[in-house]
């Protein structure tokens, strides 16, 4: 099975093509330092995670100080992964501001037809394009954030009883740190982002270099193809018929980029095959057991059955040493989905035949940090700790490290407990394993449920 997967990976060689895109961006377009090490290789987390977002049809929130390349990094990725010239990407971006309206984000009535008494929708470029960038999303008022919830989640855009469905789409949103003009992102919207990453200051020397190399975005522009793409996007034909036309022009632009820049963007069929390959990768047992252990800590409450933001921990609880004690809310079901999606992407990119614990550990902090609400005492305790990451990502990395340490100590026992759980589910008359971690209680709960039904 593993051999088969490896051979698929080697035959297609898409990894090389994607890594070439990564290198092209880091060498020519987005200068920054490597800040994450995976299996002995160093990467820049912003480019790496954005690349995986584009490949996996994910959703990424990029945070950072103004002017540190949040939006541009997303634009470069979108341009090279989806073969769109930058001019079209800019024209489809939604900028977050208090006066933003549904008509500018999703679609508006066709006024000409409306005058004739007919109802039709003119869809925005944002809603039609497979690459979606929402700039400064936290400048959207909280009431208007819910407007894009459904579209962000499922790719369904509705206006005036009409709907278009994005078959393939990824989303990048940028957010500045809290200032006078920003709002809080509502929890349901935050939860819909698979990952969060910071676009960091590259350091004085690289920053100086960026200042010298102005106009680098011109290399990913092409006025003719941009006009052609705009024409198709504006045309009145059905959305489903627009997609092949858009892809045709995108392929032509991709050829142009390949010829001029010697980097080969990904065609639609390439992306589809990459996703099929990614989808065939499964978590190995350690990765699965570790992820379950972390999820158990983020959702467990012995007293009230599960974590709830409205309930507080009991004094003298036996599980004081675990993450459940340090957080307010419960892990959502989207968290394991994001972990698996991005671990799959990373494992595929590194050419591995299975998702192992290293892949999971690498992506976990970025899938976790925006979803956890830490208790005030934890925040005040760790606020002044020495760190390189933004506070939320730092806390998530620390949490993953702690659970990883716990997993190292009892990995065999956890796997035994899960294997035993499987045997009991198959009907064997056995007793679940005991252990001092929420995961064992969770296993017992599942078994009890099985026995009662």
């Amino acid at each position: 099975m593993n051999d088969r997967k490896v051979s698929v990976v080697e035959k297609n060689g898409y990894q090389k093509q994607v890594l070439a895109i990564y290198r092209f961006i880091s060498d020519h377009l987005y200068f920054n330092r490597p800040d994450i090490e995976i299996k002995g290789e160093s990467y820049n987390s912003t480019i790496l995670l954005s690349l995986l977002t584009g490949l996996t049809k994910g959703k990424e929130l990029i945070i950072g100080e103004p002017g540190l390349g949040k939006t541009t990094s997303a634009e470069f990725i979108c341009s090279l992964v989806y073969q769109f010239p930058l001019g079209v990407i800019w024209g489809s971006e939604v900028s977050g501001h208090p006066e933003q309206t549904e008509e500018k984000i999703i679609g508006r009535p066709d006024l000409g037809k409306l005058n004739r008494g007919e109802e039709d929708v003119v869809w925005t470029n944002f809603s039609q394009m497979p690459v979606k960038i929402v700039d400064e999303i936290n400048r959207l008022p909280e009431t208007k954030q819910s407007m894009i919830l459904d579209g962000v989640d499922r790719g369904n855009w509705e206006y005036l009883n009409e709907m278009i469905i994005n078959d393939e789409y990824c989303l990048f949103a940028t957010a500045n740190y809290q200032d006078g003009g920003t709002n809080t992102l509502i929890a349901p919207l935050v939860d819909r982002f698979d990952v969060i990453v910071e676009s960091r200051y590259p350091g004085a020397n690289l920053s100086f270099l960026i200042g010298k190399s102005r106009g680098k975005e011109q290399i990913l522009r092409h006025p003719k193809y941009e006009k052609d793409l705009y024409r198709v996007l504006k045309s009145k034909i059905a959305y489903e018929k627009k997609i092949p036309k858009l892809e045709e022009i995108c392929n032509a632009f991709g050829e142009f980029v390949h010829e001029t820049l010697e980097v080969k963007p990904l065609r639609r069929e390439d992306r589809d095959r990459i996703r099929t390959e990614m989808g065939s990768l499964d978590l190995d047992l350690d990765a699965s057991a570790f992820a379950r252990m972390l999820l158990a800590e983020l959702s467990f409450c012995e007293r009230y059955g599960q974590k709830r933001i409205v309930e507080n921990c009991e004094e003298g609880c036996h599980y004081t040493g675990y993450l459940c004690r340090q957080i307010k809310n419960c892990a959502s079901n989207r968290l394991p989905t994001s972990i698996k999606l991005f671990s799959q992407g990373l494992a595929w990119l590194l050419g591995d035949s299975e998702i192992d614990i290293e892949h999971v550990k690498a992506v976990m902090p970025f899938t976790l940090s925006h979803r956890i609400q830490w208790k005030d005492e934890v925040l005040s305790q760790k606020e002044r700790a020495k760190r390189d990451d933004p506070f939320q990502i730092f806390l998530a990395k620390e949490a993953v490290k702690t659970v990883s340490q716990r997993y190292r100590e009892q990995s065999d026992h956890v796997k035994d407990a899960l294997a035993l759980g499987s045997k009991i589910f198959q009907g064997e008359s056995l007793e679940p394993l005991e252990g001092d971690h929420p995961i064992y209680t969770e296993i017992k709960k599942d078994i009890r449920h099985r026995r009662n039904h």
């Binding site: 499964d282 035994d416 294997a419 499987s422 589910f425």
Partner: protein, 253 residues
């Protein structure tokens, strides 16, 4: 021509899925489960087996000697109950720690449904007398119930130390052993003892040393009342109170 009725029915996959319970541990199906036993598991397991045997002995004692859950403290009943207890205890391989665990199990209705202080005390005494260890320490200070008859027939060469208080008839019929009670004892302590030593760190109740035939009783606190002592010595705060002129049987003071 094919008969329509003979066509094989293909199972509907959706229907099948509904009937099968989703196994959340499916991916661990092939993982070879290893039953790893750590030393603690073995200790816990063997302790539980022994405790079951001790509990069974106690329950049989109750069945035979306290059928109506009523037990009168009389010379004959004590002797008979002790003989029954001896019979079961001789078959068990236990340690002093198991005796202590049994004392605490007595207070847990889930483990032992009936606590009748008389037979329970006889049984504990028999356990102490037949234990392998020469010195036994019972930490009973957390126990809510005061156990009667602790130290019954404690033989020569045995030393029983009790942390906490004990009930009535402590150390009766002592046969040369040494019984140390860190707390208080109640009435009839040392009654009928033939030899050995009883040391009570705090106070002692009425009828102390009733019909004692030998041995010594040392009391760190106060003696509430002495019994009809035949022979032996009783000390109260290092002062000999029996034999002595000023003391009379059951003198309250």
């Amino acid at each position: 021509m094919k008969n329509a009725c003979s066509k094989k029915k293909t199972p509907n996959p959706l229907q099948q899925e509904v009937h099968d319970t989703l196994n959340p541990f499916e991916e661990f199906k092939t993982f070879q489960f290893r039953k790893t036993e750590i030393p603690l598991d073995q200790i816990v397991q063997s302790t539980e087996v022994i405790m079951d045997q001790i509990r069974l002995g106690y329950e049989r004692l109750l069945e035979e000697e306290a059928k109506e859950l009523v037990w009168m403290v009389q010379y004959n009943t004590i002797i008979k109950a002790y003989e029954v207890a001896e019979k079961y205890i001789k078959e068990i391989d236990y340690s002093a720690e198991d005796i202590e665990d049994f004392c605490f199990a007595l207070e847990s209705p889930q483990k032992i449904p009936y606590l009748i202080p008389g037979p329970a005390g006889i049984y504990i005494s028999a356990l102490c007398n037949y234990a392998k260890e020469e010195e036994i320490v019972l930490k009973l200070s957390e126990l809510k119930t005061e156990i009667n008859l602790v130290g019954f027939r404690l033989p020569k060469g045995k030393r029983l130390m009790v942390e906490g208080d004990t009930g009535d008839f402590t150390g009766i019929g002592l046969e040369g052993g040494e019984l140390v009670v860190e707390g208080n004892t109640k009435n009839w302590t040392g009654a009928g003892m033939r030899g050995g030593k009883i040391l009570v760190k705090k106070n002692i109740g009425l009828h102390t040393g009733e019909w004692m035939m030998g041995g010594e009783i040392y009391v760190g606190g106060r003696v509430r009342g002495l019994g009809n002592i035949v022979e032996g010595k009783v000390y109260e705060r290092d002062k000999l109170v029996f034999p002595g002129k000023a003391r009379y049987p059951n003198l309250y003071y």
